[in-house]
Every structure is written in C-alpha cells, then in structure tokens.
Amino acid sequence: MPKIQSPMARREFMAGMALLMTVAPSLVQAKIAPSPYQTLLREVAQLVIPRSTTPGAGEVGVGAFVLLALAHGLEGTKGFDHAAWLKSTLGPGFLAQPLPKRRAALAALDARAFAGDAAAKPWLAIKRLILLGYYTSETGGSKELRYEHVPGRWDPDLPLKPTDRAFSSDWSAVDFG
C-alpha cells in the first residue's frame, strides 16, 4: 500500500503553526509597547500619509509598526537608534508646535535627505517603513489602493483612467517598481 511515513504528527505540526501565527505578533508587540516614541512616530506617519478619503498612516497604527520594524532591523536599520535620532533631529518641541510648523520641519528634513545630506539619511529608512506599514495595512493596501488576492485572470492590456487606483497586490511592481 502506498504510504507516507512522517514522524512529526500532523496535528502537532498544524497546532504548532497555528500557535506560532497567533503568539508571535503579540510577543513582539509586548516587547516594544513601552517605547517613548509612540506619539512621535504616530504623528510623523500621519504627516507623511494624511487622512484623505481614507484614513492616514498614523490612524491605522503605522507608528507602532515602524517601531516594531526598527526593533527588528527592517530596511537596514539595525545598529542605530532611528527613533531617538528622529526625536532629537526634529527637536524636543516638535509635537507641541502647530501643524504648519511640524510640516515645515519635516519638509526640511525630507529635502535634506533627498539632496544627499548624510546627516539626514536615517530619515529615508523611516520614510520607507512608514510607506511599508501603510500600504501593507488593510486600509492602505485594500482601501486606499486595490488588493486582489486571487485575480483569477490575466488581462495584458486594458485602458487606464487617471482616476484608477494602483494595486498593492501587484507583486512585481512592489518588488521592482
């Protein structure tokens, strides 16, 4: 008779996987919960992706995601405290300032970073993590943009209207676009 001898009991394996999927995020969240930078990152994320017809990045938890990502070295952020750097770069009074001033301070930093100023470079990774956090959130990925997990067909050539939204599930575009 055909058979497959697999020493790991299937039920155990599946239970283990299920446990991993549910436990891992909460462990991770717990570890970074006390960060003193939560409010700052939430605000900065919201400035980068503000509310429009859809919620902004700060509103959907991107600040917390950025802190999680920084704690685990995503986007090459290992070995440098990006959150502390951002706080000191934007200055101690940043959060108390009125919106136009907060916006101007961030715009100045963004411009310096894109002009190649090495002292402003850590901002680029933070900005990438804000985009990543937002456009892979359910709101950013499937409300602001479109998400089709199972497109079911390939249409190679269709008209595009200026109002058409991009797909967050276009994996080639995400990787290489």
């Binding site: 995503l74 986007e75 892979t136 497109p151 109002t163 991009a166 575009a173 676009g177």
Partner: protein, 556 residues
C-alpha cells in the same frame, strides 16, 4: 523491507524518478530529508494577506540575519515562504577563501519544486554541442534528438504555457496557450524584431498552466503569482501537484520524510550499490536495500552523498566527482523607464516574465571575449506604492500620487553560460560537521573571464535594445552576483563518453556502478544559458526508462 528502487530526494527530479519507476511497476522508496508538506492542506500562508503577518510579509530582519543569512537573499524568500527554505544556521556549508556562493535550499517534501522559478526551456544542439565546439569541459554523449521525445513527455505532463517561435536555439515544445505580453512588452518585441530580426522577445515559457487538468485535480493559473507559498489550485508544477499523486496512484510508492541520507551502501565484490544508509528523525541510522538507486538530492547534495560514501568518493574512478560545477552568471543588465504608455495597464499577476533567447555565438562566433551564449529574462511593469521610496515629499499630494499606477519600466536580467572548470568544485570538509555529524560541503567557485565578457556584452546590448524601443535606461550592471545567485547550480557528476573523464554515461548511469543513476543537476556537463530544470526532468524520465529496460533484461 527491500525495494526495487530507492529515489533519494523528492524535488523536481526525485518526483519524476518516482513517477516513472512506479508507473513501470517497480516498488519504490522515496527518501526525503525534510518534513512532509501535503498538497493543499499544508500551504499555511497561501491565503494570508500582508496585514495578517507580524512583519507584513517582510519578516523579522534580525532573525533572518542570524538564521537565514543566505536564504533571505532569494527573491522568493519572504515571511510567507520562509518555512519553505532551510535555516542556514542549522544547515551550514563552507566556501573557499575567495569564493562567494549563495546556496539556496529547500529541505522538505517537494524540495525546490515548491519554490522554483518555473521557467521551462529546451536546450538545443548549440548547448549539447558547446563543449565539443570550444573545447571547454568534455563532450555531452547526447544531442537534442536523444532528449526531444522526453521533453515532449515532460512538458505535456507538467503543463507548460508558452508561445511557439520556431527558434533553433530555443526549440518549441508541447505548450499550452501562452500568457499575453503587456503593452510595453508587445511594443519592445516589435521594435527589437524590426532592427534585429534574429532577436526574439517572447513570453516566458512557464510551468504555470493556462488550461486545467481536471482529471489530475489541477486548475489553471489564478494569476496570484504567490507560487512559492504553495498553490492549492495545483496550477504550477510541483512534486505535490503533479508527480507525487501520479506515483502514489500506482500503489508502488513508499515515502519516508525527515530522513537524511548519509551514504550509499556499496558491495565491492559485485560493484553494485545495495541500498542507502540514512539518519532518521530520532538520529538513528537505518539501512534500506534496493536493486537500483536514483540520486535526486539536488546537484550539490547528490555529490555530497557520493563523496561521503567511500574514501575518495564513490563512483569516482575518473577523479572528476565534485569538479566542474557551474551556475549561470547573472545580473540586472538594464532597467529603463518606458514612456508613452500612460493610458494602458494590465490586470492580474502574470507568474512569468519575458525572455530574449540567446542570439550570439550561434552560426557565427560573434561574442566579444566569450564563445557561448547569454539570454535575458525580465519584463515590463507599472510602478505602484514602492515608487514612493524614491520620491521626495509627503502629505496629501504625495498620497494622491501613490494612489495611482506610476510610470512603466522594463528590466532585462542577463544570464550567461558558465564555462565548466575543474577548479570550480565541491569537496567535503571533514573538520566541520553538521547537526547530524556529517561533514560539511565545501564549495570553491569563481566566474572567469568568459562570463564577465558575456555579461559586459549583455549590458551593452540590453541598453541598446531598450533605447531603440524608446526607453530611457536608468541603470545596468555587468558584474555577476555571487555563484548560486541564478539558483542553477549544477555539475559535479558530469555525463560523458569516457569513464576516465566523466562520472555518468549517456543514461545518467554511473560508469563505475551499473545500478546507480544520478539524474538531477549534478549530471550536467555544460550549463547553457537557459533554465535547466526542464532538461533535468527530461533526462530523469529518459534514465528511468533506460533503467527499467536494463532491469528487465537482467543487465543490472
């Protein structure tokens, strides 16, 4: 219990060996070193969205640095697919002082058939004749005519979609209808053909089906392009979707998982292998016996088993075991912005790109500094939100800009033929052992001037083609990535006419040991510049047929 045949490995070729041998009536044992993964039931992340994952699909970078330092460099390695790749910390290997080699591995039932790139290209006589023509390596004992019917058989069974183009260097096969080119690719194809009639841009021939095989429980592609997570539709070829169910249906197959083969058992009196010795999940050594053995552990691991089976290596009277390993020299030759198509788009994720097959060094030797071929794979795509990483600004306007598809761009990735060299080789480092106490594999590998010359020409010509099609080239490279980058590592037990200079004969059969067959990438005597898996499968089916004939005639 004794078997007629033992197949070591369950990946792309192991599945084929098991299918062919069981369908011929042999009682077969398949031994897989990794865990069991059942079709459909065990593709745990298949339907997960990015927001379902702790790190949104990008994974814990610190963990990957520590435990997946090599595997994380694989394009298909994500938080979703990580369980389908080995843990590098637990599966170490050594490299020579000057060697950079990224060895991508998947230790599980189905092996790399679950995570492969699925590109399926026939080799031509430009490839099988390459060594004889320029004197590198040793001549292949076969030509296209010998393998063509086996290509037919494999393509028909696994399901390959693609377009027939009538090219000598990339023979047509048994294709399901092709997936379409998008608007930019269609344009570039036409512009290239106008200026260079010998160059053909065509859609990638891929083991993703455009027509289902309901009788085998396989549906056509759903255009998710999430293949490496496992596909419950069975729309791409994997062991699980295709060869394993066929083999199981015969009632002749037994599969053992979590069993690491340490060595082949050999009887010097009869010059036959008698079976294999493996280490089971409880770290106990077990021996099983069979009349024939097929090694399908993946090129480098099949060589590892042979090197570890006898002092100086088993089936190594030639002294060439482990030598002449290859991988395609591979780099991003050109990326260009492609203006003029802003009002067109596409829908769905086509799980393949485009290919521009080799056009150099065919009937004229017109390569600059090299005697073989290079080809391109790539495609055109429309940017999405990740273009924001490169954009200055933020706020309402920025968000609105990212809301819509961005500019079209096109990339061409070059793959250069890798010359077989004796100095590129595998040995065992007996001073360093793995978790099973087995010696670690040591890889010595470097590309030479031929590969560098081919990639230099590929860079120049990729830019030329995209520019001619109206593109604005923004980058291009001519230096190959580390060995292993193409994930086409092959050779080490090459096929050849002469037992003094090769390990295997034209039937993928050991010159020294008549009941031993090695039918994975280890058997390759040259690399060509197209993806090799289809050729491995065809050679496996061919070898299985030969082996069954020899068994029936009492010759082995």
């Amino acid at each position: 219990m004794d078997f007629d045949a033992i197949v070591v490995g369950s990946g792309i070729t192991g599945g084929w060996a098991a299918k062919e041998l069981t369908e011929a009536g042999l009682k077969v044992l398949m031994i897989e070193r990794g865990r069991e993964i059942r079709h459909q039931q065990d593709y745990a992340t298949e339907m997960k969205m990015p927001w379902d994952m702790p790190f949104r699909g990008h994974g814990d970078s610190d963990l990957y640095d520590r435990e997946y330092a090599v595997q994380r460099l694989n394009r298909h390695f994500t938080e979703f697919t990580q369980p389908n790749f080995v843990n590098d910390a637990q599966n170490p290997y050594q490299t020579g002082e000057d060697t950079r080699f990224t060895w991508f591995r998947s230790y599980q039932l189905g092996g790399r058939s679950l995570t492969w790139g699925r590109q399926c290209y026939r080799w031509s006589d430009y490839d099988f004749g390459a060594n004889a023509r320029d004197g590198h390596g040793t001549d292949w004992p076969i030509r296209y005519v010998d393998i063509a019917p086996w290509y037919d058989k494999v393509e028909s069974f696994i399901g390959v979609s693609g377009a027939k183009e009538g090219l000598k260097q990339l023979p047509d096969g048994q294709f399901q209808p092709p997936m379409g080119l998008n608007v930019v690719e269609t344009h570039v194809r036409a512009e290239i053909a106008k200026r260079w009639p010998e160059r053909c841009l065509t859609v990638g021939r891929t083991a993703n089906m455009t027509e289902g095989k309901p009788e085998e429980g396989r549906a056509p592609c759903q255009y998710r392009s999430l293949c490496a997570r496992g596909c419950s539709y069975g729309a791409y070829f994997s062991t699980q979707s295709s060869t394993l169910p066929a083999a199981m249906k015969t009632g002749n197959l037994t599969v053992i998982t979590d069993a690491v083969v340490e060595a082949l058992e050999y009887d010097p009196a009869t010059k036959r292998v008698t079976g294999v010795r493996y280490i089971d999940a409880k770290k106990q050594r077990q021996t099983v016996r069979a009349r024939i053995v097929f090694l399908n552990a993946g090129a480098f691991n099949s060589v590892h088993i042979l090197l570890n089976s006898a002092p100086g290596g088993l089936a190594n009277s030639s002294g060439t075991l482990g030598t002449h390993i290859m991988d395609h020299a591979n780099t991003l030759s050109a990326a260009a912005l492609m203006p003029g198509f802003e009002t067109r788009t596409s829908f769905g994720n086509r799980p393949t790109g485009v290919v521009i097959p080799r056009y150099r060094n065919m009937d004229q030797m017109d390569g600059v500094g090299h005697t073989r071929g290079f080809s391109f794979q790539g495609g055109a795509l429309q940017s999405t939100w990740t273009q924001g990483n490169r954009m200055e600004g933020f706020g309402a306007e920025y968000k609105d800009k990212l809301r819509h598809p961005g500019p079209w761009r096109m990339v061409l990735v070059g793959f250069a033929d890798c010359v077989p060299r004796a100095s590129n080789r595998l040995t065992l480092d007996r001073t360093k052992v793995d978790a099973n106490g087995l010696p670690q594999l040591k890889i010595d590998f470097a590309f030479g001037k031929e590969e560098h010359a081919a990639l230099a020409q590929a860079k120049a010509e990729a830019a030329e083609m995209l520019t001619a099609a109206g593109g604005k080239v923004i980058m291009g490279f001519d230096q190959p990535g580390p060995g292993g980058t193409a994930i086409h590592e092959m050779g080490g037990a090459r096929m050849g006419h002469d037992p003094k200079t090769s390990v295997l004969n034209q039937w993928s059969q050991s010159h020294d040991i008549a009941n031993l067959f090695v039918t994975d990438g280890a058997q390759m005597a040259s690399s060509a510049c197209q993806n090799p898996s289809l050729t491995y499968m065809a050679l496996t089916a061919r070898a299985a047929h030969a082996a069954v004939g020899m068994l029936r005639e009492g010759r082995i």
